[in-house]
Symmetry: C2
Amino acid sequence: MDARSPTSSRQSPWLPFESRRRARDEKREAVLRMAVQLFLEQGYHRTTLNDVAERLNITKPALYNYFRGKDEILFECWAIGNERVDDCITGIASGGGTGLAKLRKLIVSYAEVMTTDYGKSLVRFDVRDLTEHNRRIVNTAKRKIDRAFRDYIAEGIADGTIKPCDPKLSAFAIAGSLNWIGHWFHPGGPMAAQAIAEEFAIRLTEGIATTSTRKKAGKPPRKTKTSREDRSEHHPRTAARAAGQSQRARNRLR
Amino acid sequence: MDARSPTSSRQSPWLPFESRRRARDEKREAVLRMAVQLFLEQGYHRTTLNDVAERLNITKPALYNYFRGKDEILFECWAIGNERVDDCITGIASGGGTGLAKLRKLIVSYAEVMTTDYGKSLVRFDVRDLTEHNRRIVNTAKRKIDRAFRDYIAEGIADGTIKPCDPKLSAFAIAGSLNWIGHWFHPGGPMAAQAIAEEFAIRLTEGIATTSTRKKAGKPPRKTKTSREDRSEHHPRTAARAAGQSQRARNRLR
DNA sequence: CCCGTATATTACCCACGGGTAAGAAATAGT
DNA sequence: ACTATTTCTTACCCGTGGGTAATATACGGG
């Protein structure tokens, strides 16, 4: 059965009787990688902590060395995805450009995140499975993302690059299309993540942009796909990432 | 607490010590109305059959007179929503019009369904909570809906009312926006369901339509349609409805 | 080599909730 | 009014799975 499909990057750090001295954080992340994968594959409620532990060659109580409980694992998966979106937003906010340009950038980045496991967790996980405290954090973050879409649209209307429209409704329409990616996209499919992202950036803005954005004919479809290590949550660890969200930084009090 | 908010149409037919002789089907539908409401409000897994029964002034085992189990209740909720979408599709297919016109009609109808409880169940419920058999039915129906979107787009490209584009990707983009309605729409909000539906029909097609669809100023928003009894799953029982799906017709074998 | 700490295991607890059995209460038919 | 049938209730079963306690094993430092 299953024969250890090569999908999920490298193996678990707990190879049965082998060097088991990985750094704590690496193991923690390995748990999250496996958990998000199983949560997406089977659904949160159908995934037991035994499932997660078993696939990592450990037992359930060992997980409690790294997490307070199941809901915290869920939250941390979500937090990683949110961190990535948040990086996109701050990156776009720092750079200049018209409202339309910013909106397109956001669409591309957001769409790409949506094709990753952690990105999917932003829309596939149910906020009601979290504690009251974490649920509030999630809702705040969601409002921030929504605000980014609306602000860029409003900015575009103000600077003339976007036709007058209701920013709220347009943001819902765009975000809906993008979030839906997290439901249908599967890495093995015919379209590469990056190609989808760029296609959506055009498609979703060509209705509201003032300048006609008919695809420049000369552009060859060579986009090289997501290139190396295409699937499996690459976790770039770019410098200056630590400034992301305030929560989640502390490596568990212990 | 809650004070019996006026959202959910009329009360349960099992008022504690009152005429309890409602027809079987009415009670069955009352169960479904309450169930879909609770499933949406609390989530399927957090809603117990006791919750459903209690709010109907009965006890859990009484539900088993009408349904085989929890997952069947879920399925029937989904089936009602699907029936409505299916009616839209067959209605559009029977009438004529360009590809673009059909697509717009579908968007309007689908969006309106998405603002109802049963419509939301199409996108908020998890297929994996169903039995293998019912899951197959759901997936088949979903493919049919997807096909309708793609076909109308392809038709529009063929008849020149829609710009050349990838029907699959465009269908995903449009369906994503519409499905998302089922996540954010709440009947108490500032926008009426019908207004949203018509706005989306314009917004989602203005990018791919060949004819400029800038909102014709003269069009008064009188469309009547869903008009009276706007919320709360009115269940029109229109004639010739029974021909809908083959499944679900039989009132449980018993 | 010994001890303290971190890490993992085995063996358990128990609340929750879907589902069932047996029988009471209402209903319909004649 | 008596019976057959449907409908509903009380009382229970039990599998599941999150979480914990006690303990064993590995590891690092002196």
